[in-house]
Amino acid sequence: MDARRATISCDVEFEKQGRQISFLRLMYPDHVHDAGIIPIPIAVFSNGKGPTILLTAGTHGDEHEGQIILRRLLQDIDLDAISGRVIVMPALNYPAVLANNVISPLDDGNMNRVFPGEENGSPTSVIAHFVDSVIFPLCDAAIDIHSAGTRGRWIPCAYLCKGKDADLNRKKLAMTDAFGAPLTVVVGATGSSGSVDRAGADRHGISTISLELGGGEINPETLALGTDGVNRVLRHLGILGGDTSAPPQTRYVAFGDTAGSNQVFISASGLFEPYFTLGNAVKEGQAAGCIHSLEDVTQPTVEPTFPSDGIIVRRLTYAIVKRGNYYFTTAKEISRDEII
């Protein structure tokens, strides 16, 4: 049990039509925040009748692509073009966003592990509880935008986390197809509902997907890919009208079932020389790169290998590695028919 206690309130009226840009008032009377509030950005754009979608970013504070895409969307969205409701939270774990960190500096809370949260718990669990108890019940769909953070990079992809409900899985698949990322990573059902994505789907029956949009360095191409994909999902759901031309074809991939079988394990700390990069197809047993000792250049180098065949979908970008790091993640292509 955590001794930290926070509360949250909100003056956004979710039933009101029009544009509202405001914040949740997170009250956490610690040494720094006792005489104020922690203002967590939230925007609601509502017009006419239609479905509701929640768009979140900053679930992890150091993943910047979604934070930029949603801030831009919040400035640019045309209210008159909407049929339904778009709820935007571009900095879901706001204390982590300000700290530029994966987890909250207030309670070490990882927003993507604490759902459904707790009503009067620590700051991260209180924010999660507000989303789970107040916002998710309003939603038909949700997209949570991640990336590899400051030290890694993904091939831009959608994550399709399967649940037990086949109809819901089909809706989620239609949503990832509409997003049209270069890759769609299909993940099997688990018992956990700690993430934004799984809490929305497994607990509330909402059609949810999450995204891994790059990481490391921000580039305009990834931002455009994310923005275009989100807009296609909004059209797919009928929230936006207009062009419903076919999305770019995605490739479906999945990870193996054995723990670590799709990861290149760094067995020694040092300076890593990669032999491959994102998108390369690799074979089991192939050397992934070379670990040089940082301290002693006479030391023999170590060449970690790929534990299985696959395509490199994620890599670390920093050259300094520690024993235990997973430098590359690989996945195998699957057919669309295998998914449901």
């Binding site: 203002p39 801030r71 490391g216 300076l271 040089h292 250049v297």
Partner: protein, 343 residues
Amino acid sequence: MDARKSSVSCEIDFDKKGRQVSFLRLLYSDNKHAYGMIPVPIAVIANGEGPTIMLTGGTNGDQYEGQLILRRMIHDLDPKLVNGRIIIMPALNYAAVLDGVRISPLDDGNMNRIFPGEAGGSPTLTTAHFVDSKIFPLCDAVMDLHSGGTMSRYMPCVYLCKVNDPDLMARKLAMAEAFGASLTVVVGATATSASVDLGAANGHGVTSISTELGGAAGASPRTLEIGTTGIYRVLRHLGILQPDSANDSNPKTRFVAFGNKPGGNMVYAPVSGLFEPYCVLGETVKEDQVVGCIHPRDDPSRAPVEPVFPSGGMIVAVRVPAIVKRGDYLFTTANDISRDEIR
């Protein structure tokens, strides 16, 4: 005056043939290093009577391409194929390398700003002094390998820093062309000899170039390949390695330079926030073109700010971290110059 005092010794025999991989013994009696030494890696690979080149990486500790390329070369170079001497220091500012930071944690020394160093001074100064007084006098050529570090990414390029001696300048230009990066950045002559590159050239008349091979605190197979093939071409150009008939022509480089307007080739962030770039490395941009958009990190209802390029040119370096502070640089641009303008 700096109160920190250190000294350097070295048991490498620079006149011996063959491969020696060893370290400088940097003695610095602080809380952590008293009764020990700081082993700064150095290798010498020598054979025959040809020229001497020094190759350095880790001059700034968070720039990894050169550190990786030179570690590999220490293992891969066959002394029998060498005609001359190759001195390699893959982690020149070793204390900064171990911490993965730009400057030394021991004395805040930036190895590329303090040449010729100082005998008996702080650790970065004594390391520089050893290089300046013991190694540069042995050298015909020097190549110092940089990259963008944690904060930047560069177009892989050679930096050709101009000097007043026309003969030396002609040799430097020939070495830059032998490296054959797709881009060569020509920097105007200055009186300073504080960097490794100009410490060697202005201080000792050594033919020197430096490189910027990528950045973002990492390395990719592509940038490692560009750096490695360029260095091998320079070694063949100097006659230290035999000509390679399959690779005897140097790829053509494009020469660029920064403008004379102070700050005219840099875009600075006018406000702090989260930066959304509109442009990419290598792109050609126009004066007053919008560079991107700085979003407030705290309040998304506030309008973002869109800075513009102060002059047109090609983007040769970009900032890496998305979070920017007022005053941080966002992009560096340079303009094409002809080869004839270089001398």
